[in-house]
């Protein structure tokens, strides 16, 4: 029973990270219909930026803000310079371009900061809480991560649902031609979508670095599971990213714990196949065909 409890806690925390990565993927997808393979690498770069600041005695929270800002810039620049030329072409081309960016960023990071694993601090304790006299797999930092990701999601959903900007972004995502006709400058919002995606990713990178350490490829596996989460949730839906993340996190935690750690990726495959069999576009996708 205690095992189940611990696996659940670990799954929830991991799930939140996957949800954050998934949210970044959803934001990029909604605006440009492109899978941002470089999402993880961008998060890794912004984490290095934060680490550099920390080394120069900048406080953690200031470094976090700068990392997110750097993410916004990185995402915007990538979309404008590298993705824009291939946006209207075959989607596979855009995937390859994103992969090129991934390789470029990982190699650049190794070139600038070296490929040696580095530690990265957590702003709260990483010692587990004790419940009833014994420790559990849940730390104050984990709690912070869960709350932070929820808060970020809440902010973004508020942005989308209640602001004029959010309305324009949603309109552009659902129907760029009609939105354009109504005066929305769709192309700028594409850039904004990627900027937000990378900003969200930056947070994910910062939250994950304490446990997986900081090195150029540290986000690779997380990206794949974040992908899984995004697809399960339905690529169109931020709420889906959250649910998909939690489901993935929990499922992979149970599978890893009860069956074995060499079965996590197989578990992801199984999860994907099961969900997609029942809902081919993911759990929360707007499954109705877009009518014009």
């Amino acid at each position: 029973m205690r095992l189940f409890f611990n696996y659940t806690l670990v799954g929830l925390t991991q799930g939140m990270i996957y949800a954050a990565v998934a949210l970044g993927l959803v934001l990029a997808w909604r605006s440009t219909r492109i899978l941002n393979f470089a999402q993880g690498a961008m998060a890794m770069v912004t984490t290095y930026v934060a680490e550099t600041l920390l080394e120069h005695s900048v406080g953690y929270w200031e470094a976090l803000v700068v990392a997110v800002a750097a993410g916004l810039v990185l995402g915007a620049v990538t979309e404008r310079v590298v993705i824009r030329p291939v946006e209207s072409r075959n989607p596979l081309n855009a995937v390859i371009v994103a992969i090129g960016v991934l390789i470029f960023l990982e190699a650049s990071a190794a070139g600038i900061w070296g490929s040696q694993e580095r530690g990265f601090p957590a702003p709260f304790s990483v010692i587990g809480y004790t419940v009833g006299g014994s420790g559990i797999e849940f730390t104050p930092f984990n709690l912070f991560v869960i709350l932070a990701v929820l808060a970020m999601m809440g902010l973004l959903m508020a942005l989308f649902r209640f602001t004029a900007l959010g309305l324009r972004m949603r309109a552009s995502a659902f129907s760029p031609e009609v939105a354009g006709m109504l005066g929305v400058r769709v192309k700028r919002l594409l850039t904004l979508g990627w900027a937000l995606a990378a900003g969200v990713g930056a947070l994910a990178g910062l939250f994950v670095a304490p446990s997986v350490f900081l090195f150029p490829q540290n986000m690779d596996e997380i990206l794949i599971f974040g992908f899984t989460a995004a697809i399960i949730g339905g690529l169109d839906s931020p709420l889906g990213a959250l649910v998909g993340g939690l489901v993935s996190g929990l499922a992979l935690s149970y599978i890893g714990g009860y069956v074995g750690s060499s079965f996590t990726a197989s578990g992801a495959v199984l999860l994907l196949v099961l969900v997609l069999m029942v809902r081919p576009s993911g759990l929360f996708s707007s499954s109705q065909a877009r009518r014009v």
Binding site: W29, R33, L35, F37, V82, P85, V86, R89, N90, P91, L92, N93, V95, I96, V97, I99, G100, V101, L102, I103, F104, L105, E106, A107, S108, A110, G111, I112, G114, S115, D220, E221, I224, F227, T228, A230, I231, L235, G260, S262, F263, T264, A265, S266, A268, V269, L272, V273, L276, M277, P280, S281, G282
Partner: protein
């Protein structure tokens, strides 16, 4: 993303359409030119002849160069096989696979495991077994994937690409893998023999795929790729065609994996990471998805890209210098896709057809 390769033009141009077998798809030498060059116009003969000529040329090359170069040649042949199959899947049937190295892994382990239990089995038998087993695995994946489109298929294959090596590690005791023995006939040097075997397999595969592309199957493939609903209305069994695409590309991947295991003298899961799957896709797109020669470019890119970049740009003196080849590689991928959307071969084809128009061939 309604089918990740829904638009056939940029990545898989009309050269896959068998609308007029004797005619001239853009960039190809037309019937008049073929007569001039005394090449047969009938596809089977033409492909056979080209294969023989290419084979002779490769043999001559192989004999001239060093043992190490022969190993590289063998690798190029292997990756050409895999990428040709992948291009058939992606460019031909419009289904994406971001985990194709997993199928290579299946082929490698299949061969190695068979050999481990049957030490005296002939190489050809082992290779055929590995190919067939991987083809069957591809069929299963294809069947599971038949309902999935674009990004959803991408996600599943990506996870699969991660899962298979993990499972291989688990079931075949640790990441040391299984070792494989390879003894060439007494008078031949090991790597030369390896290169000849791999080249032979590559030529056979390219020959078969070339004939497939000019057969009536090609029409079914491209119909399914372009518009599933229209294809099924035209009487094509969409699911079966898609699964066939997976089976064939899996067979190629399995063959490649088995050959790789032979060359590496062992099958290890570490040889088939996700980055290889990604590299295969990148090599395919940059080489030019729509053409078979593009697969050769892809193979060259995968093997020689890193080597060449290391030579030209790399240096061991600084942290930046060591990573510069990869930095340039990433940038090159971006630039090639943006400025040469049809890949290297596609762009060459366009140049050739423009020259042809001038010379009126």
């Amino acid at each position: 993303m309604a089918g990740i390769v829904a638009d056939p033009d940029p990545v898989a141009p009309a050269t896959t359409h068998a609308a007029d077998p004797a005619g001239a798809p853009p960039g190809r030498i037309g019937p008049a030119a073929l007569h001039r060059l005394r090449l047969p116009t009938q596809p089977l003969l033409r492909h056979g002849l080209l294969a023989v000529i290419a084979g002779a040329a490769c043999y001559l090359l192989s004999v001239q160069v060093s043992s190490f170069s022969n190993f590289n040649i063998a690798e190029v042949a292997v990756y050409t096989i895999v990428i040709a199959g992948l291009a058939l899947l992606v460019g031909g049937t419009g289904q994406v696979s971001l985990g194709h190295a997993a199928l290579m892994c299946v082929g490698a382990y299949a061969y190695a495991d068979l050999e481990a239990h049957n030490p005296h089995i002939p190489l050809a038998v082992g290779v055929i077994f590995a190919t067939a087993l991987t083809a069957a695995a591809g069929g299963i994946v294809g069947a599971a994937a038949a309902r999935l489109r674009g990004p959803y298929l991408a996600g599943v294959t990506l996870a699969l690409g991660l899962a298979v090596p993990q499972l291989a590690d688990h079931y075949f005791s640790s990441d040391q893998g299984i070792s494989v023995s390879f003894t060439p006939p007494s008078s031949v040097e090991t790597n030369h023999w390896l290169a000849w075997i791999c080249l032979l397999c590559a030529l056979i595969v390219l020959f078969l795929i070339a004939n497939l592309r000019t057969s009536r199957w090609a029409r079914a493939f491209s119909a399914v790729r372009d518009d599933e609903i229209a294809a099924s209305l035209a009487g094509i069994n969409v699911a079966r065609t898609q699964i066939l695409g997976f089976v064939i590309s899996a067979a190629c991947a399995g063959l490649g994996g088995a050959l790789l295991a032979i060359g590496d003298l062992g099958a290890t899961s570490g040889s088939f990471p996700i980055s290889l799957s990604i590299l295969l896709i990148a090599g395919m797109v940059i080489g030019g998805t729509g053409t078979l020669v593009g697969a050769v470019w892809g193979g060259l890119l995968v093997v020689y890209g890193p080597i060449w970049l290391d030579d030209v740009v790399g240096s061991t003196t600084s942290q930046l210098g060591v990573n510069l080849p990869s930095i340039v590689f990433g940038a090159l991928i971006v630039l090639v896709v943006i400025f040469l959307p049809d890949g290297i071969q596609g762009s060459l084809n366009r140049v050739v057809s423009r020259v042809q128009k001038r010379l009126q061939w």
